[in-house]
Symmetry: C2
Subunit: 246 residues, 2 copies
């Protein structure tokens, strides 16, 4: 028995999300269907570092599965890529210790959120970046970013649908990367609550438009109430960029 750690990228556009569900095309469902074929009809469960919603992309989602098949890591990568649909890509496969768990062994995660500004949207990236035509004060956004750093209870920045009770998370890095009309929020943390990155981005966009002041963020965190933060930014700008392990 070998445990394989698989790093996958996917274009979330045509998926109903990462996690398998009775109806709708999912990343997990597609991967498990291929694993079942390779294992001659035997069901092979997979675990991931976490779910992503419909429309959310991944560059470095990490999953793992156990197998009896005697296939080296490079063979898994080649075989899976040959059989998976075009919007899922295996970027790396590694055999790991049986104590490794894609979710429980992770120590931090990095998400990117891509915004496209400028006069006209880029139709070739309509599903891969959030087009935001309104004027943004980038300096205010950067001051806003700093307010999120550190360990806080992020109740205000998580969907009310969250079932988790411990909402304390640590944000190690939150920066705005500028490349002309392309803006990318890079956010690295110990873990993220449901919709947390998208609500943080939505709130920073309000800060950039002057609808909220950068220093309001501290207050919003303290309120521990979702109603005080801004709208959730749309799914199609979000990328699970990297999952880190010890």
């Amino acid at each position: 028995m070998a445990r394989m750690k698989v790093t996958v990228a996917y274009d979330g556009t045509d998926f109903a999300g990462y996690q398998i569900q009775p109806i709708g095309r999912t990343v997990q469902g597609s991967v498990q269907a291929v694993l079942k074929k390779i294992h001659k009809g035997e069901f092979v469960p997979t675990s991931a570092s976490g779910r992503t919603d419909a429309g959310v992309h991944a560059i470095g989602q990490v999953i793992h599965f156990d197998t009896d098949m005697d296939i080296p890591a490079s063979g898994w990568q080649r075989g899976l890529n040959a059989m998976l649909p075009k919007d899922i890509q295996v970027r790396d496969v590694e055999e790991v210790d049986e104590t490794f768990h894609s979710r429980f062994s992770s120590v931090s995660k990095e998400y990117h959120y891509k915004l496209l500004t400028g006069n006209q949207p880029d139709i070739f990236r309509r599903n891969h970046a959030f087009y935001f035509p309104y004027r943004l004060n980038r300096d205010d956004i950067k001051i806003g970013c700093e307010q999120f750093l550190g360990t806080h209870d992020f109740t205000s920045f998580s969907s009310v649908k969250t079932h988790v009770t411990d909402k304390v998370r640590t944000i190690y890095e939150l920066s705005l990367i500028e490349d002309g009309d392309d803006l990318t929020f890079k956010i690295k943390g110990s873990g993220f609550l449901y919709n947390m990155v998208r609500i943080i981005v939505g709130t920073l966009l309000d800060v950039g438009q002057g609808r909220k002041r950068p220093e309001d963020i501290k207050t919003i965190i303290e309120r521990k109430d979702r109603a005080f933060a801004s709208k959730t930014a749309p799914a199609h700008g979000l990328y699970l960029h990297q999952v880190n392990y010890e």
Copy 2:
């Protein structure tokens, strides 16, 4: 009666090509369906600078149509963009003289062909650039590019399906733009035969791989026989970038 010149971008992925046809989704069909709605059910024909094949994209395709509606250019742009599908974008509308013709008034055209090299394909651009993992000698490609410049009979570089009899065209510019793993062929000419850009690119890729020498290109042109040039590069790397008028 006013003649409107419309510059459109489209993502060719989900189109059976530019030109309207009995079966399949087309750009022209989509535009004319919207124009018909705006004109209360009246059919409004459109002309374009030329066709593009299934999968080929446009940044600056130019079309024109005549209308009795009293709508300013900016109103046409807004209205069309509101009604067109998400993979077509009107980038500019201008009222022009009745002597203007999108095809016959054009003096030159520019196409771009996007290649993506590197170890792994970028799944987010799988429909928007041709992934080419093989080693390329970029210097040889650049010498090859120069051989195409000027006025030649491009029979060797056009599909045998071409119906045009005069196959003499002038290429003003053909360059390879390098941006890390991203390579773009920029080609500007008086006009292009059917599949001409894609056959030129296919041949330059053979040159880059050492399967042909840069100086072979002169000979291939002289042969006036499609069989001597290389394979047609795939459609999804090609962009009609700009159409120029006097």
